[in-house]
Assembly symmetry: D2
Homo-oligomer: 343 residues x 4
């Protein structure tokens, strides 16, 4: 049984483990003041062309989202998110638990557009009887595998600025977005067009770890307190520093994501060749082909993946996810199996 259920079924890329062993007994300061974290932050600042950025490493995505958002908002302020957004759909009310409403927007492709947000602002105008929308949360790639174009991000960014809204980008799978074949954004574009974003390590080769990047330093004021208060400041911060150092010193991060995308694309191409449609256009490491139920049943005898959404009585969209660790031979075998079912 091989799993295509998610991109965190294996441990870390071997280079990372190797680096952990090499550095293991070197004494270091705790709580993120270690030499590896400091070096990794320097490299990241260069890659985003922003020497003034403020960077912190934490353990996971939900943790990142709740700490960043609660640190930026006053009690009466709210977040705007796609209904499919991770903070609304998958985080057990983590944002509301910090006191803030998540206002949702229905979005076919998981992305937000200025017009969507304008509607929210109008619906929330009867001050003080409603919350005040203050932060726009987006993901790239989105929770349904789609990506933002440069033009889309620019428009959104410009709109948010005009309305005094913060723009925060969840990059749990940012590597996959930026190495998608149809992508036209760079890491420094992301930095230029958002107030805060994060680069996800957990789903792209690290044991755990996300890099939070404040592009505007004043927004990071006292953020160290927030990390400590929410239990996110690891005593051995070196564990995060070493990993990001290894992922970014030679762009391992991007080559891992590219591999994951290629494996997914190979499967998508094979499915398209069989005539299967998709829920959203496949471009990153998660694809949502719509398959006949007997095909699904047959594939599930040897492979694990999620049945995502019932399409009609005969068919369902499924989610197939690949990762840095997905071996091409496994992909080939899966495609063979798929072809076999049809014949």
């Amino acid at each position: 049984m091989y799993s295509f259920k998610n991109d965190y079924a294996e441990g870390a890329h071997p280079h990372i483990l190797q680096k952990l062993i090499e550095t293991n007994l070197v004494q270091q300061s705790g709580y993120g003041e270690d030499a590896y974290s400091i070096k990794a932050k320097e490299i990241l600042k260069q890659k985003i062309d922003n020497p003034d950025a403020i960077i912190y490493f934490v353990s996971g995505g939900t943790q990142t989202n709740l700490i960043v958002i609660s640190s930026l908002l006053r009690p009466h302020e709210a977040v705007i998110s796609a209904k499919t957004g991770h903070i609304y759909a998958n985080e057990a009310g983590a944002i509301e638990a910090t006191g803030h409403r998540v206002i949702t927007i229905d979005s076919e492709d998981g992305k937000l557009k200025p017009a969507d947000i304008e509607n929210v602002l109008q619906a929330y105008s009867l001050r003080p009887h409603v919350v005040k929308p203050k932060l726009v949360y987006i993901s790239n790639s989105t929770e349904i595998g789609t990506i933002y174009t440069k033009s889309e991000l620019e428009q959104l960014s410009s709109f948010c600025r005009s309305k005094a809204l913060y723009l925060f980008l969840d990059g749990a799978r940012l590597g996959h977005a930026l190495t998608a074949k149809n992508n036209d954004l760079t890491l420094s574009d992301i930095a230029a067009h958002t107030d805060v974003f994060y680069i996800g390590g957990t789903k792209n080769g690290a044991l755990l770890g996300e890099a939070i990047i404040f592009n505007k330093p004043h927004l990071a004021k006292d953020f160290d307190y927030m990390l400590k208060q929410k239990g996110a400041l690891l005593a051995k911060g070196r564990l995060l520093g070493v990993q990001f150092l290894e992922l970014f010193r030679n762009d391992l991060y991007f080559s891992l994501a590219r591999h994951a995308n290629e494996m997914a694309t190979k499967i998508a191409d094979a499915m398209e060749a069989q005539g299967y449609p998709f829920l959203t256009p496949p471009c990153t490491n998660q694809i949502f082909p719509i398959l006949p139920k007997p095909v699904i049943d047959e594939l599930m005898r040897e492979y694990d993946f999620y049945e995502w959404k019932v399409a009609d009585e005969q068919r369902s969209a499924v989610r197939i996810m690949t990762s840095w660790a997905t071996d091409e031979s496994v992909v080939d075998a899966f495609i063979d199996r798929l072809k076999g079912i049809m014949n």
Copy 2:
């Protein structure tokens, strides 16, 4: 300029003010331990046929909602409400500020049905990645003037019990609901079919005040602490006790609500006679006739009321609200004015 904008534009019913004067200099214990509060609670327990009920008086509806809900829920539990529900639409995120998501249901008539809630339970089943729905919030009358029938409330109550969901009824305008012409519920029905509910005084003759009634005493455990912690325990609790005593010792509460309903019905009948449709069937003290824009403009020269919702290019629904203090002569003059416009 006469206002039909809301039912809290005047002070209190004169009997209440009179009672405040009569009792003014009698020394009393503070924080709700005064003789008037104790007596008022006794009367209310009789009226709902539940000697074991636990009752507290507080200042307002938002305060009630946030304290009751946050006292009943654990951090990961959520509330289900109609999208028009006061806690979602009009309370500035008060519930989320206590840490809990409000899950909304689109509802034409502002009411909730078991099937709506069943859908939510299914959508929130992927534990622990989602919040746990635990409390159903309804209003009677609703924020758009509709009321629950006995059969509807029974079904909802029974469904909630079967799913271990609390049922909490917001009775900011419970008097208007229970004296509506098509109502078949009694105060003791309300008590029998909910876990907690409140009886609103502010919008029906009191200066301020809502009576929170826990029909199941164990749900009120330590509720006094909650009131104090949220700033809801008035030093001079007598102010609330005296008012509820006066409202309920001779059913003044119901006669005031009935008057408000009758005034609204009179207007509704006149509008219906003119051929105007309604957004929701008029039955309580707030009605939503759909009027041609010139008619609205003309009426607004002498009367204040809300334009509620654009119906089409020519027409909008407006909200006309009456109260215990609405004089019949004013209503008659308004109807005359309305008829005048048409001719």
Copy 3:
């Protein structure tokens, strides 16, 4: 049985009730936008010599404290208070419930001095492992009846400014402080030397009500949302407006407080004449004489008051509290009774 337990055992001053009756049926806007609230705010701004101040009226002191403090602080910031401070000793954790630590200082007289606060700042310097002290909370008069001198307040204010700490003054009994015989502060001094303060109505002649005054307008940004979110925005805000208008249009507020102080002073003088010492020097409407237990027992047969603190095996400090409503004949009878016990 006559009660000297507190200063909220009666209702409101008759002038206030009279005004409520006079204005009762005049239609007004809700939520604090009524003409009485607007007028009362104008008068208060004149009295504090600050036309830019931002003022809101709310129901009670705990409510005021929790909303003001939580509106000013970010999640990692903390409040400094005397251990006897109302927010620490009497509010059921209301401040902590909004997420903030109350750091306490032991203080014999219930007041805070710059040196006390300097000690706290030093103890809380190991960022980010500790909270960040950001607001100093004081009361005048204090919870044990003492008052600040002008010089003390100036020093504290200047120290707080130098350390970027907010200074917030709880004036639940500000009237009693400012009319104490040894007082040298004015209402405009209070405004000049604090960032925010409130004037308590509940304990000085109102049915309920406190006036929150932001001396620096930018600190009140979006405060209306906070009020609504915490359930403090009364639909019939007129109830608060009318009362403050009546209390301040002719300085009724101060004459009521002066009366309360005089009644307490009369009792204190009689006790001093009998040779009884005091826990703190008597100057406002609450006094803490230290009495032999048989005297306490004897007085308690006819009068209600709190035994406050055991002094030694033979004696306890008691708390005697007077109010605007304390009749001089009652005070005289009490003094007679006291003298009688000795003979």
Copy 4:
């Protein structure tokens, strides 16, 4: 420069890294459902003799404390802790940020006794004006290196049970406590006498990780939601599972702690031989010798450690901390250096 500042200056014990490498590419379920976590929990349940215990692994101590405590308490309930307790002294207000007061007790040795807690209960009796103490938080070993005896823990446990207080033990350094030379407690004693406790991995050989153990299963109800909501549920939970498996399958955990204790004891013995007193009796891996300032200055030229507390004008207590990674040759060299200073 060698550091004795803390016990988290190095990475993980080599056996743990080896196990991470061995298991790295085995696909596993996410979020703690991996085979390693399941196996590690089984072993721990055997070691504490409680097959019904419910166990979760998380990243760090502050995270553990805030999630466990906030999951057990209702909004008005408070925690009791020594003033030196980690939750009060070192966690940036993490507990208050979840809404709960930490009530502190001054304690010379960092431990709590029933009489201390009884005093708190009496001070917090004026319901509902005060919070309700509900959970007692202790650490073993304490933040100042002391340990509980079996008899002390039994008495505390029995007292808490009699008062319906939860007893929660912070075991960030539980290994060091249980392998101290004067210890008479076992892991199963800890389980038997607390409601919840945790076993710290971070400070005893793991990269990160703490094992939360609910000895009474009903207290763990819905705890998975809490973990997710607070951002503590790692996608690759295997990282924690593998480490605890390796630490406990052959009692590596205890041998590492014993080593750390022995290294500290060796230093303590040498200091005692020189005639230096201690702030608290040395028994675990952190010792607090009181040294003349010139000795401190001299040692600090080659070694890093904290000056903890000024003792008098000539002397300060310092904190020397050893760990599983402290090499005996380093300790010997340090002792030689110490002896050298004296001659």
